[in-house]
């Protein structure tokens, strides 16, 4: 395999369920350390797309490469943040953060170090020994985000992680995820239906079409950070993406 400049390459990804065409020939690349958002109308096959990436489904055609090799959850390090907060209720915050690392049977010292790092980054010290049900939804979501970053993933997939949250919380967690992304240099693929969120977070926004889903546009967002959601440039980008989604 040749050295590819891309971390992730998606080549002609197609998925049919019987006669239902869900994804049609999706191709794009993600550079190492890039933050990419995918936006699209609801029901446009975002979840199917994700399930293909995580290999819960296999594609009908096409493939997903990580570091030039066909993605294999056993070999590559994919981490995932779900739409619904789902920390394991029988584990404390710290045990939840350790969970993925322990499954991978990393050396204990390494686990301790990474978990401490994440606990500090996410300000979870005081909740270390709490169970998820004792925490607010936002704190629980922080555990899940922390748990994903702790894996030092090749690719971090986030599926509308803030969909259910109020606006203040969302802003807060968006900044949190940006901070983690910069600190860890992770490659992030963030799926959302919230256009403002996408424009705020991403270096690149991929706009999806209705079913059968293709990539309608691959849009660079080169606004400086921290971004101001009220600046004319920001609003212009946001409006542009909105029009792209509305315009069939």
């Amino acid at each position: 395999m040749s050295e590819s400049q891309y971390k992730v390459e998606v080549q002609g990804l197609t998925k049919n369920f019987g006669s239902l065409k869900v994804l049609n020939n999706i191709s794009f690349n993600i550079k190492k350390g890039e933050f990419v958002c995918i936006v699209g109308p609801t029901g446009c096959g975002k979840t199917t797309f994700l399930n293909l990436l995580t290999r819960i489904y296999m594609p009908t055609k096409g493939d997903l490469l990580i570091d030039g090799e066909s993605a294999d959850p056993k070999k590559h390090n994919l981490a995932f943040v779900f739409q619904e907060p789902s920390a394991l209720p029988w584990k404390t915050v710290e045990q939840n953060l350790r969970f993925g690392l322990e499954l991978k049977k990393l050396p204990k010292a390494e686990i301790n170090e990474r978990v401490e790092h994440i606990i500090k980054l996410m300000g979870l010290e005081q909740f270390r020994n709490s169970y998820p049900h004792q925490l607010s939804v936002s704190t629980e979501q922080r555990i899940i985000i922390g748990r994903a970053f702790a894996m030092n993933p090749d690719l971090l997939l986030m599926d509308e992680p803030y969909g259910q949250m109020d606006i203040k919380l969302r802003f807060y967690l968006e900044d949190e995820v940006l901070r983690l992304w910069k600190e860890t240099g992770a490659t992030v693929l963030f799926i959302t239906h919230n256009i403002e969120e996408a424009v705020y977070l991403a270096e690149r926004v991929l706009i999806l079409s209705n079913k059968p889903t293709t990539i309608k546009e691959d849009l660079e967002i080169n606004l400086p950070r921290p971004r101001d959601v009220t600046s004319p440039e920001f609003i212009e980008k946001r409006q542009y993406v909105t029009d792209q989604i509305k315009w069939w």
């Binding site: 995932f80 779900f82 029988w90 969970f99 991978k104 169970y131």
Partner: protein, 273 residues
């Protein structure tokens, strides 16, 4: 967290609410008092043979002085409890393992599930004739019958808990690439623990019921034996006294199990604390 010594201002409404909540502490006591009053009323008619609270109390004092078959009341209760505990230990060990096996492994379930379902429909007491034929009327057959009675609820609940793990928890396992063994031990079993505990609760009460029935069929000790003894000799206060003991012990057992569950599964405690 509210500080202990801080003065708390309560509005009229809040004070009323507090008062209303206190009623929940009072109501159980009220029910017991009411029951005793009813008991007095029911036994006051001399034509009824129903033993009065006084006669039960006297019977209680008498058994303290004059043991039955060398055992006092506590001795008989302990004799019954011992059988239950031994049977429960085996029932939990075997029941949880078997429940996990048929809950997790589809082939094992297909192979053993139907037999087990049919087996489950047979009440534990129906085993008495066969068990008596094989093992006589010693200690072992009683424990065996209790074991059979206590096994079912554990297996059923464990199997249900393991087979119905919430998909989102399994997904977490998948995402972190848990292997089959890790899926079982790290995800399925912990998430099924509350179901397993429901089985343990049911099996304890079932075991406590079955031991009394098993003891009524023969033996020289246990609370069930006391009831038969009372019946045979027309000693109805003894029967009633035994029944009260059964109720109280059953209640205490339930509390112990609840306490155990709190310790082993602290995460099932409600958000309110």
């Amino acid at each position: 967290m509210r500080k202990e010594h801080e003065e708390i201002f309560l509005s009229e409404y809040e004070r009323k609410e507090l008062l209303r909540n206190r009623i929940y502490g009072v109501l159980p006591v009220l029910a017991i008092i009411l029951l005793i009053c009813l008991w007095f009323a029911a036994s006051s008619n001399p034509a009824s043979k129903f033993p009065s609270p006084m006669s039960v109390w006297e019977r209680y004092l008498k058994i303290l002085e004059k043991p039955i078959k060398d055992l006092g009341l506590m001795g008989h209760i302990w004799a019954s409890l011992k059988r239950v505990f031994i049977a429960l230990a085996f029932a939990w060990l075997l029941g949880i393992s078997f429940g996990i096996l048929i809950g997790w492994n589809k082939k094992a379930n297909a192979l053993l599930g139907p037999i087990f379902t049919a087996f489950r429909a047979v009440p534990p007491l129906a085993w008495v004739p066969l068990v008596t034929m094989w093992f006589g009327i010693g200690e072992f057959p009683k424990v065996l019958i209790v074991f059979v009675g206590a096994l079912m609820p554990v297996v059923v609940n464990t199997q249900a808990g393991i087979a119905n793990v919430q998909k989102e928890y399994m997904d977490i396992g998948t995402i972190f690439h848990a292997n089959e063994w890790q899926m079982l031990t790290e995800i399925a079993i912990p998430s099924a623990l509350d179901a397993i505990f429901a089985g343990i609760r049911n099996s304890t009460s079932a075991g406590w019921m079955v031991v009394l029935a098993a003891e009524m069929l023969g033996g020289k000790s246990g609370v069930g034996f006391l009831i038969v003894r009372g019946m045979d000799s027309g000693d109805y206060p003894l029967c009633l006294l035994s029944m009260i003991c059964i109720g109280v012990v059953g209640y205490l057992l339930a509390i112990v199990i609840q306490f155990l569950e709190r310790i082993i599964c602290p995460w099932t405690a409600k958000k309110s604390n």
